[in-house]
Symmetry: C2
Subunit: 211 residues, 2 copies
Amino acid sequence: MPSTTIAEHAAPTRRLTAKGEATRARIVEAASALVFLHGVTRTGVEDVQREAGVSASQLYHYFGDKQTLMRAVIAHQTVEVLAAQGPELDALDSFEALDRWRDGLVALQRARHCAGGCPIGSIAAEIAEDDPDARADLVDSFEQWEAPLRSGLATMRDRGALRKDADTDRLALALLAALQGGLVLTQLRRTTLPLETAIDASLELIRSYRA
Amino acid sequence: MPSTTIAEHAAPTRRLTAKGEATRARIVEAASALVFLHGVTRTGVEDVQREAGVSASQLYHYFGDKQTLMRAVIAHQTVEVLAAQGPELDALDSFEALDRWRDGLVALQRARHCAGGCPIGSIAAEIAEDDPDARADLVDSFEQWEAPLRSGLATMRDRGALRKDADTDRLALALLAALQGGLVLTQLRRTTLPLETAIDASLELIRSYRA
């Protein structure tokens, strides 16, 4: 099977009726919820059928196999993860904006009682070795997450809020990694302390480049 | 089933003959290798039997069910992860030691072609929600990892290498989180750059507290 881009998986590849679109979306949402709770492997297509209230033939009509469905889940969860961070994600160009964004991430984990971890990071840990296409999709997902961090910090440097010698690409990548690792430990320990500590340490390093 | 500590799972709970010990160890090693490659859910007990060259009844004799075997895998992989970092892990009490430890972690990922991610972090992401006993074991595992980071940095502060106001517990937790997140991104992107960037950013923050 030729590799396709994540954008093709986010949207239906054939033109669907409004009803078809709604059914497809219901399937992806049901699958995403199950994967978030139980992981990819423990989510059976029968579970998805039941949760979405569709037949096996309907599921097959929209997603030929489980792998195709899982790639749609990755695309869907990527959109959700980015949306959950609010429009602020695209304007992380001041220390105040970074602090608000950090508070939003922590509040979200608190609301979830620290369960589930990162919806895309967890999928990555589970299937990165067994599904190269899904891994490629996840690389794209994290690039979509890292890009606004990078551009926000670059804007801060260009505006003179950060010193000229601040390597903002490096700081953005370190911030994303800290966030991911913080989420793993927050999920395990059921407290937001690791997430807060990891992000705050990254932000402290960024602040050390204040112009 | 009452919860047991990770130490009880690391070692056999009954006294075994030398041959029994060897068989048990072979099973745990085979299961650990399969879980590292394919995850917990995709590792069937039949796969473990075949890989270890044991019968179903032998497997059952040592590990009553898959969950018990997986807890032994977590205990085994925790010992392996800590051992892979060398005796230096228990003496991370200078900037030079921290740099050598960092280089060792990066070299290990390079040797693995960045595949597999963290042997215990990956298990965490997969089963944290579905197996509370395993989650408790993993909390212990990460505590065993964090403790030497914490005590190394505290020693540096006590010796005057770090300023008195350095919150070494916080810096140690941030370093562990950075490492975990760096491993997730390194596994996905198949380059050690995220791991290096994440750890180096943490070490840069630690250096900013140099006395």
